[in-house]
């Protein structure tokens, strides 16, 4: 009789704690990432320069540099000539 009583008590206690645990699990929200933490845009890869821009920009850059060098050389030559004439 005593054993049966103990058995019933154990069963009641087990059911109670299982129910409390289940209820607690229901209350807790599903873990989720904060949806509005997006202050900084996520990194994106660089489009390969050689393909996207270089074909247009590099020739222009080369022409510009060559022209600039020629102008500097010409200016220096003129200064040189005028300096000699002056002397």
């Amino acid at each position: 009789m005593k054993r049966r009583g103990l058995g019933w008590s154990a069963l009641v206690l087990f059911t109670w704690f299982s129910w409390v645990d289940a209820a607690r699990a229901d209350i807790l929200p599903e873990p989720s990432r904060p949806k509005d933490w997006d202050e900084h845009p996520a990194p994106t890869p660089d489009v390969p320069l050689e393909d996207a821009l270089a074909r247009r920009l590099l020739p222009l850059l080369a022409i510009g540099m060559a022209g600039g060098s020629a102008l500097v050389a010409l200016k220096r030559a003129r200064i040189h000539v005028s300096a000699r004439r002056g002397s």
Binding site: D21, R24, A25, I27, L28, P29, E30, P31, S32, R33, P34, K35, D36, W37, D38, E39, H40, P41, A42, P43, T44, P45, D46, V47, P48, D51, A52, R55
Partner: protein
Amino acid sequence: MRRFPEEGRFDVRGNPDDVASARHVLWKYTRLWYRNIEPGLSKKRAYWLLGSDRQAGGQVYIHPRGEAYAWAEDLAIEAVARRVQALASPYTVPVLQVGPGIVFAAPPPACPRPSLPIEAAAACALQACDVVARLHEQGCGRLGFGPSHLRLVEQSGDLQVRWLVPGVADLDLLEALETTDDCEAEAMHPRWGLNVDPIQHDLWQLAFFFFSLLAMDTRAQAALEPDRREALRTLTQIRDGGPEAGGIQDAAAMAGLFTVLARLPRAGVEPLPVVRVLPRLYPDWDEVIVEGEAMLEEARLQRERDSHRDWVVYVKLPLAAAYHQRASRAWARGDVGAALGDVDRALALDDHAPYHTTRAVLLDMLDRRTEARAAIATAFKVDARQENTQPPWGEQDTDNNAKNVERARAHLTRGILALRERSLDAAEEDLRRAEELDPTPASARARAAVRRARERTQPG
């Protein structure tokens, strides 16, 4: 986990668990069981802890943090409190300390609204409008306007506003239900809708606040001067149909109405910021990271665990997001090494596909192509797996849009990696998919680069 300043300047009384459970049932009480609410303002002490200031003396109110699973929400509330503290408006209750929890100087007692003549009611509403406009400028909206939040104090014969910001969600609705004759109509009123724009919500509540103070019959209203009658008519339209019905879009415009009603000279009123779209408010990522790591360490030492679900996951997911934000910031300023360190830590906390994509981008920048290819492959593998986190109810559409943007970024990254290896077919396919999901200038440029690469490789 610390939920309020436990040592130092403040002596805190009460149990934060009691406050957390009182707040937890508040939404059920107001949204589901509102028919059972007793009329008359009840005491609201249960929603804050009380304490005292050891340095300055006097009582303090403490807004403690909730359970660990609400850490990210608590950080958002504390970000608002920091703005209020910095603003230091004479019309807000002083914020003495922020993090963990919020400590306020003791506010004046919450009392039922007095009935005031129109000038006094408008003057109080104008003070509230001042706070609203300045907080909107800082990205703080959806404020609490009930007697427990928006308190009044007599100052040299006049009533002044002392506003407790940030407040407790749903406490306003509880107070509105306690003071209404028709609970059903009040609970269903559209201004309590969860999807109402925060600025619209605040302007609507401002109109209600003004009318809750106003003691004026219709005959007296008809006897007002034309400009004041017009201002009152606009406010009535706002109360009855929302700010759009009154043609008011910002708190500065609303302040103009109260200025007229209070008979104040417009020139004497300091211009308020015009804010029609609430700026986003973010926590400080460095502070989130320091605090989150400390919480994880504390959990590791104490082996504190929930019986069903490890609460540490509620810290790990936001912490990983904070690391990813800091990595994105480091990438933008060109510090790729620091960015890679942060994204590696984010991945250790949360195996999330977009973090793998970021890692692939950073490795590509460091010319570690083999590792970049492996990282982007993992991003697709992780994305294909069943997600174990669900978006909150009602946010599935937003979640799908965000996922599409992230998938487009992953396709763009894999496409560009393929382009670098001259695998033009694979690159074309990925970049086309990226453009389908989320067309960006980068994806368009990358597709043009593939086309030019094809032109060069094809003879003739």
